[in-house]
Amino acid sequence: MPQFRRFGTRLLLLIAGVVAAAQVADYLLVVRANRRNAIDRIHENLAKGAALFSRRVDARLLELSGRAALMSDDYSIRQLFLKDQPDPATVRSALRSYSVRMGVPFMTLISTEGARIGDTGGPLPEAALRPFEDLVQTAAAADDPKATAFARLPSTSEDGKVFALLVVPIYAPKPEIVAWIGLALPIDHRFAEELKSDAQVEVTFYYGTGETMVPVESTLPGAAGPRSAADLAESAVKTANVSGEPYVTAYRPLLPLVTHGRAAIALQRSLGAELAPSLPLERFLLVLLIASLVAAALVAAVLARNMSRPLRSLADHTRVIAGGDYLTRLEVTRADEIGQLATAFNQMSEGLAERDRVRDLLDKNVSPEVAAQLMRDGGALGGEEREVTVLFVDLRSFTRLSESLPPRDVLHLLNRYFDRMSSIVETQHGIVDKYIGDAIMAIFGAPVARDDHADCAIRAALGMPSALAGLNTELATEGRQTLSFGIGINTSRIIAGNIGSSRRLNYSVVGDGVNVAARLQDLTRMSQFRADILVSASTLTSAKRRYRVRDLGAAPVRGRDEPVGIFAVDGEE
């Protein structure tokens, strides 16, 4: 099954497909039912026609046998037999007279031995008599001495016609049979036309002696062709085209047949004519089919649009969110599942914006590296021991300065100063651990471990005086008092990690080395050192680069047994 990219296409195909399948099935079922009904009706008509044919033939023969019985009891016919040798001319004229009375074209008189006594002559020559003689044999053996059969007369001629034959006895008196009367009832065109008008079916009489049977009479002129004898051997119903039009045909053999060959009656009815009344319904159904298909397509298109438009706007909105815009909101105009989805999207946007804000605040309250680590580790308590470099920078004489300024201005001044210093720390891959009053404590080598943490710290320290000079220039311009500071740097193994309670914690470092750095910063105030930047020997040992330093000897540090080697840093080599 092909995968359609568009939901609308799929919905359209689904709805149109279902409607089309139902309608087409409906249409086909109706057409089939109509056709079956028509064929059933035709079968019924044909069966009625066949029954009517048999009844008509039987009734006519019964009527004729009644008339023949009257004739056989007639005094005058007995007169013919009072003579030893009846006069042939008299017999013929008498029979002609009787045939007119009975309305049959041919009559013959046959002796009890089966010999012809006389006949009416006319349409049937002497050669036509043989079937009557055969029939006399049948009749004589019958309980009720009478026999009927179909025959083609004359059977030897190509243009012979099919007749229904009847032989009845002449009694003198009953039950003594002295002779037989033979009658021939033509199954001809007139018979076919009468049957057609009564049964509403086309009628064809077939006769054949070989493999094929040819129509002898037909109400379908020129339409009925030869048929194979096997087709007409038994009663059958077939549908075949006659002159390009389908006809249902019922074949019935004419039995018994006393002449050589086969005779059959074919009753036909046009399938098209029978179907004609149901054609308007079929056409209407076809129009309905197309109309409902179009309607289904339209409904499907509208439905698909209603479905896919909000889905597409949701998809677009997802891209907006993915782009980082958590402030744009979807317009919720509906209460259904799609509306609920849009609401959920908006709630998600809100959640994301909230998280973003928290992250932003986190970034501002802790250094970005710590914030990243907190986001990653989830702020679990605990720490690790590692070598870091701690830098302390503290403003000198700031307490006195702050007393001469309003608090707001103090804070403003501090923030300007912190901003510049912090910027340098971050540039050198360090983090501002905390602001302690007017002091900054910065860490290099945590939380992200670096090999050059000592170099980073020294470089940051070296960068800070010029940054402060810049700030002082601004302050001077503003007519304010300028600032000065001292920097202490120490490298040692300390514990780094989240320190605090489970409700509130800070990323920080603890250890003796932190105090050493603070102590070095304190020492910058001492007149014997006269340096803004003091580093410990361990920092210089850890540094990979070389710096211009002055060895200031060793100084005792509180809490330490051994004094710490102190160096002033003037710049890079």
């Binding site: 009891d73 009694y171 003198a172 008196p173 009953k174 039950p175």
Partner: protein, 214 residues
Amino acid sequence: MTRALVATLGLVLALRVSASGTVRVLAKDPKGAPVADAVAFVEALDAPAPVHPPADPVAIVQKDQEFVPYVTPIVVGTRVSFPNKDTVQHHVYSVSPAKKFEIPLYIGESSATILFDRPGPVTLGCNIHDWMVAYVYVLATPYFAKTGADGVADIAGLPPGRYTLELWHPRLAARVDRQITIEASGDTVQEVSVTLRPDRRIRRAPESDGAGYR
């Protein structure tokens, strides 16, 4: 019962011893029922016996619109009269090969007598009444008799010798004959089985019915 026993055993019994013999014919149908109105006759094989027709005509009466008797055996040369004892006219005829004749409508004693001069069966009918039928069987032998209701016919006065015994009936399905020998010592009984065709005579409806005839 006795007759059945006789039939079963097929006994030929000598009843009487004289110069001439008598043949008693027992005509039965295949079911054993006696067959009436059968003409039994014998023809001498050794020396043909001359026939002597009676001087007076034999009468076949029309009474109550029926022929009486139904079957009349006569010898060749016999004259038959057809007295009409009904109040309606009759028109007697025959178209049988042995005798073709007609006596046009008449009532009472017909003056005409018909001479039957050829042997063979003759069927009589009436042109007015379809149901009337009778048979005359014309014989070329003086030895004959007609079976009664008991199916018995006695043919008497037969000199000893060989004969052909034959039976005829209006509805005989097939010829029935056999050769018999008359001994000087006695009479014989011949049981003959006769197969008859169905009786197809027109049955006469009662006059009062007025429904006609079937």
